[in-house]
Symmetry: C2
Subunit: 327 residues, 2 copies
């Protein structure tokens, strides 16, 4: 800017205004300035602007794993919702580790993001780090793995209803012995899933067999072991509802090894609907699509809302309806 001002023999102020299309600036001046700026391929220093405006136009995203397609789709939604509003996205992976998440948030605060979208790590047990962000005036929107806080919006899917529909679907196919490979009890979604499962069985007056309900700890070994245990039951399940496609895949492997034919001797339904399931010879017969892209998109626009209108504290809770996709 200084350079432009010098070359044109005008003041920096004028340059600044010309560049912003300030109304009360001479048309000729404006044109000359903009043209010269172009020629010098001037790019405004956003650091300086940030300092002045107290906005960086960066938003932070903290989520467990980018390698999970669910989250990379979510990020894409976030990107699409923010990019043309001029925001850039800072991504940090928590790897489901509390400590990592904490430092991630801290680092984002230091980097001066205008807001944060987070999907809480499964290892997180206290929420002080999030409050810190809020205390610094940084709004947070939670998605997928949400926690419900006073002033923060969140968007998540209705797991209960997803599980309900899945089980309902299986029962209507004539399957009554349905097992549930559920997540760790620390996650809220685990409860909801159980809920939907139980409610669907109840609807059809099928008694809940507690041996069919299994809590997994996210390690592959655990999944393999507990699936094997299920199959060893005197009355093994005819169908399995898995809380994640990956879990279903691991479980299917166990079944195959025992000579069970997928989608004949035993049926699978799982959450998430990873695109690569379509490459499988025997994919789960149904998946519960949770629309990660849309979730990310929604979360991001709520965040931008919160950033740009900090006054009107309209906390929102958006519940997305999952959809049973039958193959």
């Amino acid at each position: 800017m200084k350079e432009i001002a010098r070359q044109l023999g005008i003041s920096i102020t004028t340059v600044s205004r010309a560049l912003q299309n300030h109304p009360r600036i001479g048309l000729r001046t404006r044109e000359k300035v903009q043209e010269l700026a172009e020629r010098l391929n001037y790019i405004p220093n956003s650091t300086a602007i940030s300092l002045k405006k107290r906005r960086t136009f960066n938003i932070g995203v903290v989520l467990p794993y980018l390698t999970e397609q669910f989250f990379s789709l979510a990020i894409t939604g976030i990107e699409d919702a923010t990019i043309d509003k001029g925001y850039s996205v800072l991504v940090v992976q928590s790897r489901n580790d509390f400590e990592r998440e904490r430092t991630a948030i801290r680092s984002l605060i230091r980097h001066g993001v205008d807001g944060i979208v987070v999907s809480v790590a499964s290892g997180t047990h206290t929420y002080r780090h999030f409050d810190r962000a809020n205390e610094h005036g940084i709004p947070i929107v939670y998605f997928d793995r949400v926690i419900k806080r006073l002033h923060s919006s969140c968007v998540y899917s209705d797991i209960t209803s997803g599980a309900f529909e899945a089980v309902d679907f299986l029962v209507q196919k004539g399957l009554t012995n349905i097992a549930l490979l559920n997540g760790p009890m620390t996650l809220q979604a685990t409860d909801e899933r159980l809920n939907g499962y139980a409610r669907a069985l109840q609807k059809h007056e099928i008694p809940v067999n507690r041996h069919y309900i299994v809590g997994l700890n996210l390690t592959r070994e655990d999944t393999l072991k507990k699936t094997a245990a299920l199959l060893d039951l005197p009355e093994p399940p005819q169908a399995i509802l898995a809380f994640h496609d990956y879990i279903a895949l691991d479980a299917m492997e166990v079944c195959r090894q025992r000579g069970l034919r997928i989608n004949e001797d035993i049926f699978f339904v799982s959450f998430s609907n990873l695109s690569f399931c379509s490459y499988l010879e025997h994919p789960p017969i149904a998946s519960i699509e949770q629309f990660p892209y849309e979730m990310g998109e929604k979360a991001a626009s709520l965040l931008i809302e919160a950033i740009e209108h900090p006054d009107q504290q309209t906390r929102q809770e958006v519940v997305m309806q999952p959809q049973l996709v039958v193959r």
Copy 2:
């Protein structure tokens, strides 16, 4: 800082120095400052620091798709290599679109990143936008889909050798009719792959059958169609080398539909080694692992090198050896 200075009755400078553990500051003063800062849960305004230091400690990453596991692994490598040096990562997806890539770079420049890591979009045909970054003093490191520029380092894998080994492996298994499902001719890697393929055949004195060499355009339909054409040849291939696991999967589907048994009637080897291949009942018998994580890591550290020592323009070209993983 002002607040701390006021409360302690000292100058802002002293506070600043105390916070940075400046050596020539009174121990007592320092402690008092740091303690108060803690209590006020003061977080330095990095925007201001950036303005002063002319560094944002942000680095940009531009790549085609985060949803491809290859790239999300690369990002993870980048993250790990930068995070503890105090950098944050701004991610933008180009979706292989030139225009998107261009705006991405532009936006990163505006946001004042200290450097950029990029995997060039397949749709990119001119490199002016990259030069722009360089003109603004922003170093770039290319990885995977690299272009070779005067002052920019790059890291990529030795596709030729990967293809060579793959074909060599197949021949040693007694397979001689080997087709190559290659990428679009616009990508440099496509050439190299062809090269390795041809060289391996040559080594075993197998003539190159040009009907076996197929250029794909990255759409699924194209893959299906051209694979079918391969199988329709008077002498169909016994094995297929695919330039990507996803391509192999699509091609395998075609084979299956025709009643060919994977890994019996026809064999597959592909590049990339996606983790989910292990879930397949009949995965490619071998994959060419390209170590995306390590590539990202390396690219990022080269970038940091370039950022922190802008004087010593040591352009580096790192070639990673891929590895044939036999299942």
